[in-house]
Symmetry: C2
Subunit: 187 residues, 2 copies
Amino acid sequence: MTSTENATRNGVDTATLFATLDAVKADTELAKFRFRATNRWLSGTHNQSTIHGFHGAKQEMTHRQPFTFDADHPPVLVGSDQGPTPVEYLLHALAACLTAGIANVAAARGLTLTEVSSTVEGDIDLLGILGLSDEVRNGYQNIKIDFTVRGDDPEKLRKVVEQSCRRSAVFDVLTNGVPVSVNVSTD
Amino acid sequence: MTSTENATRNGVDTATLFATLDAVKADTELAKFRFRATNRWLSGTHNQSTIHGFHGAKQEMTHRQPFTFDADHPPVLVGSDQGPTPVEYLLHALAACLTAGIANVAAARGLTLTEVSSTVEGDIDLLGILGLSDEVRNGYQNIKIDFTVRGDDPEKLRKVVEQSCRRSAVFDVLTNGVPVSVNVSTD
């Protein structure tokens, strides 16, 4: 099987992918992005975020439409279950980032995928956030993701997953943390 | 203004909130939760997660419906923009967790809210994930969230936001990181 830079593989336009890499190499300022979400409280633990605009490639851009997402707590956590919990969105973000990376890396390496599916689970002890223990952290104690990846050469596909982890933005943030600053206006 | 444990405030059923705390104090095993998402790759960087079941309070439970979410890259990042990027979901998760906490803490303290809104931004230099620099991390370099909170006593509301940060699962995970294990099946 031969591959060329002009091929679209796994739904990835590899020609454009390589051209984008070349463009960024030539002007590294293109790589600076600022992503954004706005959120408003609705009632109780129910709130809604909108994701639309972002800054990148030296310009203000928008997604093709505003995307809105509800978050809430389920009844067992005294919410009205109008959406997943915030911590479940973290699991989705992790699976989504690694999966996109797998598709890109496989395409760049000329490997065809037929399936990428995953289940991601996070263990959390709510004694932390409920303020009932000082020894239990607030967040997940661990996260586990199980992938099933099918397509070309299994050993090469395993290495694709490894490379996706090494180059994943969400994997980095979740495993290494990131500084977060919080500002409050009450005007 | 007086408050009683029976009041619903800010849409939070404080009586049930306090009863839940008492129940967990009496049986701390109730506090152990395992959240879950499943994801499947669709094409290119486009994939979809489903969030439905979770384990908590010593039983398997489900949200009132399966929630599904698409993630993708925008065209400037060689995707088809079928949903936000995975890293944007992290921003939503942070805003959602802190906002739910603000509503709960304010209610527990007998404070009425009229508005909680926020904008959250994350700076990322894609030289990392593109493999073009070993000195640039893959994930966000920093995240900033700006809240507008209105209602009772502004000084008390500021302290509510502080307490929400101190007890937020997502804030903890993002600022401190969490161990992530990755398993791959190619069968």
